[in-house]
């Protein structure tokens, strides 16, 4: 294993073309632009909203947001880490199936699962109706039933679709952990349980933290689910200030506060973590010897993996498919096909571009790790993920329109030609918003993979005469293939589900599957929305399965 001391010593001997650094800066600054626009808005409120908020609803907003974050974080951690460890390091019935099935809930948009469970669990839903039938209750006053539209309900819904982030990262970390260390722990008499707590978990902690950070940011930026469940989190405060009090500046202040909170969380986690660097050794390609769980233990392991898959995917999927059956004619509707095309095109382009940008950022930092400014800028570029989509959309509108109008003004003054709006109101604006929003996801995956490539590889390649581009292509890309594909697939699925920014930024007469589904579902026409929602899920399943194969391949396929 390479130590960080020798890493630094050799690093200085590499000559660097400044092209990578410049490109890295350009990418980072472009992505920061909309985030900066939101912060800029925060300096221009119509009136100071804080005295009013502090004396009325702020405590509620803060408490709800914290509980939501804690609840979703904790549940995602439990669902994600336990199942990842079980399928990676244990042998029990159904293990191979769960390996990929555990990722499936990721394909279901949070607002869709919220609609479906409300439909199932509310008073008129099949469950309560059956209970009334069974016990002869007449009205809601005859019995009590937990209200799905509540903070608890929101925590459950969000956890069920967000835990796959934790599962994904924990699993690849468990897979990459040195088999030797675990063998040693076994030799020293650790039980599987002890080995999990003392060895696997501490080593996987950085990856799990990245997964949890993604979950936390998704939870913070969610509005669809919490609004539907009448849960008053900070994002409710943002929209209230913006739309009801016409105070966009105040809304931007709350959004900025949320971003600062995320920065604080990430910083705390990093400070608390040991700084040890790990590079992968050759032993990771040894076959894992799995703990055999038999009898009751096997059943428990099966149940632990089944719960998130059953509630996060199977039930909502069957419900959705049943509803879609009544509207099969929609699948051949030309508008529907166009919406699907738009979704695929935008999500596909965004996934490719986000991976490319993340690669540029990661590699330019790797080449010049001493450039602190670039490192900070690259981190700031991740914050778009913590912004509610609608606020991010405003952040995109401002610089795009400023660019368009400045160019147009200049062209009019000098050449008497109007160029009009070149970027605003185009699919490119949506694409850009996706990049800003999901760069954190692709970067997380690609940076983590690249960090595991020993620097001695770079050195060997460079001393054999390869330049930085060739080294990236011939050495890094093959080694980080897994991380790269993960980034591509996760961003693709995320973009398929994206709603609020798409709604605001889209061109005329332009729909994606998500906007079409939302339009029906928000009007309580869940059935009419079902085919579109089902297609989002089906299209999402393919990458999810590919993803699982990729991860498994990091160990098995060699």
């Amino acid at each position: 294993m390479q130590t960080s001391a020798s890493f630094r010593a050799h690093r200085t001997s590499i000559r660097l073309p400044s092209g990578w650094t410049t490109t890295g800066w350009v990418v980072a600054l472009l992505v920061i632009l909309p985030i900066a626009a939101v912060v800029w808005l925060a300096f221009n409120p119509i009136e100071n909203i804080w005295p009013h908020l502090a004396s009325t609803v702020l405590p509620v907003y803060l408490q709800t947001t914290l509980l939501l974050l804690l609840g979703v974080g904790l549940l995602s951690l439990i669902f994600g880490v336990s199942s990842a460890w079980l399928v990676t390091l244990c042998h029990f019935p159904g293990r191979a199936l769960f390996e990929w099935a555990l990722l499936l809930p990721f394909a279901i948009p949070a607002y869709v699962i919220a609609y479906i469970y409300t439909d199932l669990l509310e008073y008129a839903g099949p469950l309560q109706s059956a209970l009334r039938e069974l016990f002869g209750w007449k009205t809601a006053r005859d019995y009590s039933f937990p209200e799905i539209r509540s903070l608890g309900g929101a925590i459950l819904m969000l956890s069920l679709v967000l835990y796959p982030y934790v599962y994904l990262l924990a699993r690849s970390s468990f897979l990459e952990q040195s088999v030797n260390i675990r063998d040693a722990s076994r030799t020293l008499g650790c039980t599987p349980w002890q080995s999990f707590w003392r060895i696997s978990l501490p080593i996987a902690r950085p990856s799990i933290a990245v997964g949890l950070a993604l979950v936390a940011m998704e939870t913070l930026n969610d509005f669809g689910t919490v609004d539907f469940f009448a849960v008053k989190s900070l994002s409710a405060g943002i929209y209230d200030a913006w739309l009801n009090m016409s105070n966009l500046g105040a809304a931007a202040q709350i959004a900025t506060l949320m971003m600062l909170f995320v920065v604080l969380l990430i910083w705390l986690e990093r400070r608390g973590r040991a700084r040890a660097k790990q590079f992968s050794g050759a032993d990771r390609f040894k076959q894992i010897e799995r703990y055999r769980l038999e009898g009751l233990r096997g059943v428990l392991a099966f149940a632990a993996c089944l719960v998130p898959v059953l509630f996060g995917f199977l039930i909502p999927f069957v419900e959705l498919a049943t509803m879609a059956m009544n509207h099969l004619d929609q699948f051949s509707d030309s508008r529907f096909i166009k919406q699907a095309g738009n979704s695929l095109l935008l999500s596909g382009s965004a996934a490719l571009l986000a991976a490319a940008l993340a690669l540029v950022l990661a590699y330019s930092q790797r080449l010049k790790p001493e450039l602190k400014g670039l490192r900070v800028a690259a981190k700031l570029a991740h914050l778009g993920y913590a912004l509610p989509g609608a606020v991010l959309a405003i952040g995109v509108i401002i610089p795009f329109a400023a660019f368009d109008n400045t160019l147009d003004g200049w062209m009019r003054d000098n050449f008497d030609i109007s160029t009009g709006l070149l970027l605003s109101g185009t699919p490119f604006a949506i694409l850009f918003a996706y990049l800003v929003r999901f760069l954190a996801v692709s970067s997380g995956s690609i940076e983590a993979s690249m960090a595991k490539v020993t620097p001695s590889m770079d050195m060997a390649s460079r001393s054999l005469g390869a330049n930085t581009v060739k080294t990236l292509r011939r050495v890094h890309l093959p080694l980080i293939k897994g991380g790269l594909l993960t980034a591509l697939l996760v961003v693709f699925v995320d973009c398929m589900k994206e709603l609020p920014a798409t709604l605001i930024l889209r061109p005329f007469n332009f729909d994606t599957l998500a906007t079409a589904v939302y339009q029906f579902a928000s009007d309580e026409k869940l059935e009419t929305a079902a085919p579109g929602a089902l297609l989002i899920v089906l299209v999402g399943i393919v990458p999810v399965i590919l993803l699982s194969r990729t991860i498994t391949a990091t160990r098995d396929a060699r």
Binding site: T56, Y123, A230, N244, G348, S418, F428, L477, P507, Q519
Partner: protein, 348 residues
């Protein structure tokens, strides 16, 4: 791997090219009019189709529930938007206050729409009117047991009232009208008392409140008038018919100021690239033909006088007295109404 990446990048270039061809197709100089709409598209689609058929002018729409004012504002003199459509007075007034609107100078529109439903400076025009009414359970509330918005504060309704979020624009407008009529202090006391009577935390949309009455969670609900027609005739979700059939409709305050009214409306943007077509469309939307479609398809009240209401509306709603307070004043009270909702903890 290199191969995969290379082809990936080539693909992305193809994608971008395709995407920009999408852009090109919508920015032509054809005979068209462009709408930024806060109103859901399916509600206005039949009218827009009728307009295109009649005039040959194509209509392009961006629908979003938020952010469109910001688009118009930032796009400035290059905005493609000709018309702003809203389902509430709030954004119209907001747009006017931010100087985003042109004045509508059309004798036809002024003749079609009564002054009560037009901006005094001609910056916006109402297209349809709706009342915020009280739905009461047929089984559990006797006719005449409740007659006004003020009655909602009566302790006898404790634990029996349902409504959507106090922060929803329809409720903010109602509270804004209370402020206008009764003054802020009395309005706040009323709101606090209504809060005490709520059967559950405010949630869901207007239809969900009627559904809750049907299901026995509450006996009285606030909701917009047109939802009744939409539910009663809902063939795709027939259970909504049962919701509608479980309630009586009450137009409040018939003995004094009349039932609270709101509008769906439209405005022409200050930098509209197609102002003539925009005016043409607004004239059409206030014409007899369009007003009749609004009444028949959406169960809204035509703003134009002398248009027959739909048979359903006549059967269930009949004639009623509408509050004639200035909508501009009501809209101006919205921020205060929103703070009031926070102060009494209405949504908590």
């Amino acid at each position: 791997m290199t191969l995969i990446l290379n082809s990936a990048f080539r693909l992305s270039i193809t994608f971008s090219a395709l995407a920009s061809s999408l852009v090109a197709s919508q920015a032509s100089l054809a005979d068209e009019v462009n709408i930024y709409s806060y109103r859901q598209e399916f509600l206005i689609r039949p009218l827009l189709d009728a307009f295109t058929e009649k005039t040959g002018v194509d209509v392009n729409v961006v629908y979003s529930s938020k952010g469109l004012l910001e688009r118009i504002e930032n796009e400035g003199r290059n905005t493609p938007a000709d018309i702003l459509l809203t389902s509430d007075i709030g954004p119209l007034q907001d747009a006017k206050d931010r100087n985003l609107l042109a004045s509508i100078d059309s004798a036809a529109i002024n003749a079609n729409v009564p002054a009560q439903y037009r901006d005094e400076d001609g910056r916006w025009v109402g297209l349809t009117a709706r009342s915020r009414i009280i739905y009461t359970s047929k089984d559990r509330v006797a006719q005449g047991e409740i007659t006004s918005y003020e009655d909602l504060a009566d302790p006898k309704w404790a634990g029996r009232i349902c409504t959507r979020s106090g922060k929803h624009s329809y409720n903010l407008s109602l509270i804004g009208s209370m402020i206008e009529h009764k003054g802020a202090a009395e309005a706040e006391a009323w709101l606090a008392a209504v809060k005490e009577n709520l059967a559950r935390k405010p949630q869901g949309n207007d239809r969900a409140q009627v559904k809750a009455v049907k299901e026995g969670q509450c006996d009285v609900a606030l909701g917009n008038s047109y939802y009744f027609g939409a539910m009663l005739t809902n063939e795709k979700e027939p259970e909504q018919k049962e919701w509608a059939q479980s309630v009586n409709l009450l137009f409040p305050n018939q003995d004094d100021r009349g039932a609270h009214m709101n509008i769906s409306g439209a405005a022409i943007t200050a930098n509209a690239p197609n102002p003539e077509q925009a005016q043409q469309l607004l004239e059409f939307l206030t014409s007899e033909e369009a007003q009749r479609i609004y009444a028949e398809v959406n169960y809204e009240f035509p703003v134009r006088e002398g248009i027959a209401r739909s048979a359903l509306i006549n059967e269930y709603m009949g004639e009623f007295k509408a509050d004639s307070v200035s909508l501009t004043r009501v809209a101006a009270n919205r921020a205060e109404a929103s703070r009031m909702v926070d102060r009494v903890g209405f949504d908590n």
